[in-house]
């Protein structure tokens, strides 16, 4: 390797050896073909960002959209006491959390499926470190798309949220917990109308990867009002959680 160049030094008053010259250059040529490591670059070799292509160090992928939540001026919507639908809640692009304890990718519940509403991207990466962030608004809804009444809201056990890599949940990214045995409020962060962020840093091998934000109803109390803590998800099809405005950001750190 060319830690010292040239390998064969020509000296004063010595005859020139062209084989030695050839060997000096051949070795450097060979080195430029593959396997250049950190020792081949001097400290501060690239001092100006203008010398770096935009995708040389970081690639950013993201989806996102805004969805009106129905809150009106200085007063929660007319239907918030259960008397009618909210004003201005979106007809499309929201996501209803499935009434089950299985994980589901946040996609488009109603309307034309589109990337902006899908918290999932399939990307081709190098051997990189991925920083994946999901930021979203969670809401409660009933059958008339109204906010869920207090009596029912407290029976909802909350949701778990997590990042998945190639359809496998990364449990280190999940909020809440997995053990409900000692947790009287269930395994979720049981917050109803609340914004959440989950994120994770994870290395991946070169290839095609699908990154997603997934959500599930958590195990929790069937009815916390009566103190009956049955470890099953607590949800009726008429009362559910909904994902509204959201953003999904992936930073590929090369």
């Amino acid at each position: 390797m060319s830690f010292y160049f040239p390998k064969n030094r020509e000296r004063k008053d010595y005859p020139i050896d062209k084989d030695a010259i050839n060997e000096d250059f051949r070795e450097v040529y060979a080195e430029t073909q593959s396997g250049l490591g950190e020792h081949n670059w001097r400290r501060g070799a690239i001092s100006n960002l203008a010398s770096m292509a935009s995708d040389a160090g970081i690639k950013v992928h993201r989806t996102g959209l805004a969805l009106t939540h129905g809150i009106t001026n200085a007063d929660y919507p007319s239907g918030s006491d259960g008397t009618g639908p909210q004003t201005g809640v979106p007809a499309n692009n929201y996501f209803n959390v499935s009434p089950s304890n299985t994980w589901n990718v946040v996609v488009t519940e109603s309307g034309t499926p589109n990337l902006a509403a899908t918290m999932s991207r399939t990307i081709t990466t190098g051997n990189s470190l991925l920083w994946i962030m999901a930021s979203f608004q969670q809401a409660t809804r009933n059958a008339t798309r109204d906010v869920v009444s207090n009596a029912v809201r407290y029976e909802l056990g909350g949701c778990n949220h997590a990042i998945s890599l190639d359809s496998t949940i990364i449990y280190e990214s999940m909020d809440g917990g997995l053990d409900v045995a000692n947790d009287p409020t269930g395994s979720a962060l049981r917050m109803d109308d609340h914004p959440f962020v989950v994120d994770v840093l994870i290395p991946v091998n070169a290839g095609v990867h699908t990154l997603s934000m997934e959500i599930r109803h958590a195990y929790g109390p069937t009815n916390s009002f009566t103190g009956n803590f049955t470890p099953v998800y607590s949800v009726s099809t008429n009362n559910f959680y909904q994902i509204m405005s959201r953003e999904f950001i992936i930073l590929e750190l090369k």
Binding site: S54, D55, T63, A74, N114, V197
Partner: protein, 250 residues
């Protein structure tokens, strides 16, 4: 072995012209290195400049309270003072705006094109109370709202998809029997927002960006005007302008 490598052949003279030719072709080779010639991870912080073009953080410690009322979706009107309709800028002095705004000023104007892919913004605040201060009876029909603004071409622009809200809660559960309407719960909730602001988020592509701040207010029901208050404590805002390529679906 490089295609261009032409050694000094047997019988040829080792002249300076020959050696210079070897150096020239070697220079060409180095300047046209294929990406596969470089081992992954070879270039790192020792060799490269920071990929964060610019950054800033700001934070507020201690309690700051807000009483202004939500002006509606898509409305970014700001009011200074208490119990009015409009947003408040998060400020060390709360609704009165008498202190210092929570704001990151990058100190220079940036166009979010080319390798200046955009601003990664991270905001967190600790909601410690959201209640009707005139009654001991709790209500969950109070909402604290937040959204992020960027300063682009001399005007503040709301990023609507960052509008978030959290609800008040009542103490309720085992050991608290009787009616639902018990005392207001102490919240201690973390409200987080993450967003990536690109050229597509601006009113006109090519506008320069410089600053970021966060707004907040309350939506109320069943509570009288002037009786509701949102109390925040530790609040943090971080902004990074990243040298990167961007693929987005908005």
């Amino acid at each position: 072995m490089a295609d261009k490598f032409s050694p000094i052949s047997t019988g040829d003279e080792a002249t300076s012209t020959k050696v210079n030719s070897l150096f020239s072709s070697l220079q060409t080779e180095v300047n046209a290195l294929p990406i596969t010639a470089i081992q992954p991870g070879s270039l790192h912080d020792v060799h490269l400049p920071s990929l964060v073009v610019d950054s800033g953080t700001d934070s507020i410690t201690g309690t700051h309270n807000y009483t202004n009322q939500y002006p509606g979706w898509g409305n970014s009107g700001i009011v200074i003072g208490a119990n009015a309709t409009g947003w408040s800028i998060i400020n060390t002095g709360g609704t009165a705006g008498s202190g210092t705004d929570l704001e990151v000023d990058l100190g220079a104007d940036y166009v979010l094109t080319g390798s200046n892919s955009g601003l990664l913004i991270m905001f967190n605040t600790n909601v410690v109370a959201l209640d009707d201060t005139t009654t001991a009876t709790g209500t969950s029909s109070l909402y604290g709202l937040f959204k992020i603004q960027v300063y682009a071409n001399g005007a503040w622009r709301s990023i609507q998809r960052t509008e978030r809200y959290t609800t008040a809660e009542m103490q309720y559960g085992p050991g608290i029997s009787g009616t639902l309407a018990s005392a207001q719960a102490s919240l201690s909730k973390d409200v987080p927002i993450r967003t990536f602001i690109s050229n597509a988020d601006l009113a006109t592509p090519g506008h320069v960006v410089r600053k970021v701040r966060v707004l907040t207010c309350i939506s109320r029901k069943l509570a009288a005007a002037g009786s509701t208050q949102l109390s925040l404590k530790e609040t943090n805002l971080s902004v990074m302008l990243i040298h990167a390529s961007l693929q987005e679906s908005l």
